[in-house]
């Protein structure tokens, strides 16, 4: 108990002495906070983005087959479906019709998709899904920019620049925004006409497999039987995202490593350059009976208070920057130039792993560079110091 009281008294003294030298400590706190804010933003942003992607892809088809012609994605003949359907272990084969539509009036891109068995699981719909020709369902983002609601009509230009109109029968809920924000759902016949897809062709093919473990084998079999196709497994997409975001955030972090070094030098400098007043203070403390280990403890508490304050403030700033402001400073770099996602609020997500990672990156170097200067201060001879 006595020990505890002693520690808390020294901590108290440390906090007082930090306040007494506000200006000197403020500079280190600001730089420390800023650095933590940047690094934590990077970590939070990439992690949350990755989680979004993973969550999004959890409902994606296990296996998609595209046809590749001249290295580019091309329409796939529906005959291929019959071949694939014949493979053992394939439970269903569904053609998909989709494409992108650039709307000049609102300067935005929509994803137009034909309704089929595979998309019926989108859920969270106000109204209903289109069931007959001339009907459509919209994502909330599309409905917003085009000021549409159920019962109104949506006008689109087809590939021959003829106007086509569709009655809005359903709008996707904002909760499913990630999946449906820019989506326009039409019936299969409507989309074929809109994009002028020749009959007997589809954009790609979704293959449902009974046993998830068999997906790689079926993908391999499709590739050997139909050499001009490109089977894409969900797990491949997931791994690619994982690698990509890991790499991107690692890249950003290592760019900031140099500023970490700069910060360490600053911290070292601040810790070494004791003013005459501070030296006298330590001298007096020792003269009134403080031990070297007490001074070291005082310095330890000072460092801890400064680093925890800045670390926590920085982490909170990073959190606010990413999850409330949508990471305006980072997203252009980390998302890449081909923006894959509609605009959405990142779901706040924070775990001990990120905190420890940050702690290792920032606090440990800080401690390491301040430890020797504090010891130097602690072993000063009171007699010498006070006499100056």
């Amino acid at each position: 108990m006595d020990q505890m009281i002693r520690h808390s008294k020294i901590l108290d003294f440390a906090i007082m002495s930090i306040f007494r030298r506000r200006l000197k400590n403020l500079s280190i706190v600001i730089v420390f906070t800023l650095l933590t804010a940047i690094l934590s933003s990077i970590l939070f942003f990439t992690h949350s983005f990755k989680m979004e992607a993973v969550g999004l892809l959890a409902d994606a088809p296990e296996l998609i087959v595209q046809r590749v012609s001249g290295g580019r994605h091309a329409l796939i003949a529906e005959d291929y479906m019959e071949v694939i359907r014949g493979f053992y272990g394939v439970s269903d084969v569904i053609p998909r019709y989709w494409g992108y539509y650039f709307d000049r009036a609102t300067d935005s891109n929509y994803t137009v998709m034909g309704i089929n068995r595979a998309v019926s699981g989108l859920g969270l719909l106000r109204g209903r899904l289109p069931s007959q020709e001339g009907e459509c369902a919209l994502g909330s983002g599309v409905a917003e920019v085009k000021h549409l609601d159920i019962g109104k009509r949506l006008y689109l230009l087809d590939s021959r620049r003829r106007v086509r109109s569709y009655r809005v029968v359903g709008i996707f809920d904002t909760l499913s925004r990630l999946l449906t924000n820019d989506l326009i759902l039409l019936t299969e016949d409507d989309i074929k006409e809109l994009f002028d897809i020749p009959s007997g062709m589809a954009t790609d093919i979704v293959v449902a497999v009974n046993n998830e473990l068999e997906v790689p084998y079926i993908a391999g079999k499709i590739k050997t039987t139909l050499p001009d196709t490109r089977p894409i497994m969900r797990s491949e997409i997931l791994q690619t995202y994982e690698t990509l975001f890991g790499w991107r955030s690692g890249m950003m972090l290592s760019m900031f490593l140099s500023s970490l070094v700069a910060f360490s030098i600053l911290a070292w400098d601040k810790a070494t350059g004791l003013s005459a007043e501070e030296r006298r203070e330590i001298g007096i403390l020792k003269a009134v009976g403080w031990e070297t280990s007490d001074i070291l403890e005082l310095k330890f508490w000072e460092g801890l208070v400064i680093s925890l304050t800045s670390f926590l403030t920085g982490t909170i700033i990073g959190y606010v920057h990413v999850f409330f402001l949508g990471a305006p400073l980072l997203s252009p770099v980390l998302k890449g130039w081909s923006v894959l996602f509609p605009s959405f609020d990142l779901i706040p997500y924070i775990n001990p792993y990120q905190i420890i990672t940050l702690f290792f990156l920032i606090v440990i170097p800080y401690i390491a560079v301040t430890i020797i200067p504090s010891w130097r201060a602690a072993i000063m001879d009171p007699d010498e110091v006070i006499r100056g």
């Binding site: 791994q239 690698t243 972090l253 970490l260 070297t292 440990i364």
Partner: protein, 331 residues
């Protein structure tokens, strides 16, 4: 694979920690060769001041190795997504088996630095620092491990190639060859007996050494702590984990650390490591005992022995909880 946030921070942290340790050991060498407590020279004074710095450095190093053990497991766990078929940290370690060595080394470093700090504490109680030379010899002994740790860590992360098909923990702990699968295939019934008998023996020996304070009992207590450590790890893989997961085929020792299982792994591993450590320390003290600090050491031994008994009891209770109270039964 180096460009992953967790990997970068592990490597940065390890390099910082190693450089601190190297600095400390550099001074340690001078202390070993020049130390003379009866001398009044200024050199002796400066050496005495340096011991203070070294103990601070070592305290930080211990903190670092504890955190780095967790960060390493976390990172491996986070990386598993990159490997086809890997489901948790086990899969990442299998993707490049050097990972297992890093893990063992980090555990060893945790024990070594903790023991060093325990010795340092009793040493500083005495005015003559009777254990100074022993202490710094042990410090020099720790350095190669810390270097090896960085080396293996580099090798592990450099050697990871995403997308290699690896056996996931389901495959590793269930079938096929290898030590790990051998551990989990140890039949649950007998393993349970071994676990509870070992723990009971441990508690018995600890109690005896607490009462009679004989050197031989201290040594047996230390040895039995090491045994408890290995038996417990094997038991966690063999039968304790499956009761927490309530899946008879899931033997992974790392998933316990995840939020899905209420982070119960932290309680399990903290009490186990702490209990084993405080069981080993009295035996180490027995070896390095000097007349001048006998009382301090005896008192410390008593505290550690009591600590080891309490921690191992808590560990056993937590581990037995689901076995006793959940509806899950392996028959």
């Amino acid at each position: 694979m180096i460009l992953h946030p967790g990997v970068i921070s592990l490597l940065v942290g390890s390099i910082v920690a190693l450089s601190m340790l190297l600095y400390a050991s550099g001074m340690g060498v001078r202390i070993i060769s020049r130390w003379d407590i009866n001398s009044t020279s200024s050199e002796q004074l400066s050496l005495e001041r340096k011991t203070c710095l070294i103990s601070t450095i070592m305290n930080y190093a211990l903190g670092f190795y504890i955190l780095s053990l967790f960060l390493f497991v976390y990172t491996a766990d986070d990386l598993h997504m990159l490997f086809v078929g890997a489901m948790c940290a086990t899969g990442s370690f299998n993707a490049n088996p050097v990972g297992w060595k890093v893990l063992y080394l980090k555990i060893l470093l945790f024990f070594l630095t903790s023991i060093w700090i325990a010795i340092n504490r009793v040493d500083q109680r005495s005015e003559e620092y009777p254990l100074v030379k022993t202490k710094y010899t042990i410090l020099l002994f720790i350095i190669p491990f810390a270097m090896f740790d960085i080396h293996l860590q580099f090798r592990y992360f450099m050697g990871l190639r995403p997308n290699i098909i690896v056996s996931c923990c389901g495959a590793l702990f269930n079938e096929g060859g290898g030590v790990a699968s051998g551990l989990s295939s140890l039949p649950e019934g007998p393993m349970r007996w071994v676990f509870y008998i070992t723990v009971t023996l441990f508690l018995l020996v600890a109690g005896l050494s607490l009462v009679f304070e004989r050197p031989i009992l201290r040594y047996i207590h230390g040895t039995s702590s090491v045994m408890v450590f290995f038996v417990s790890i094997v038991s966690i893989i063999s039968f304790i984990s499956i009761h927490f997961y309530e899946i008879p085929t899931h033997h992974c020792p790392f998933d316990l650390l995840q939020g899905d299982y209420h982070y119960v792994g932290y309680a399990i591993y903290t009490t186990l490591f702490g209990g084993v450590l405080s069981g080993i320390i009295p035996a180490i003290f027995e070896i390095i005992k000097r007349d001048s600090i006998e009382d301090t050491i005896r008192e410390a031994q008593k505290r550690y022995t009591i600590g080891s008994i309490i921690l191992i009891i808590i560990f056993t209770l937590i581990s037995s909880w689901p076995i006793l109270f959940s509806g899950f039964r392996v028959s």
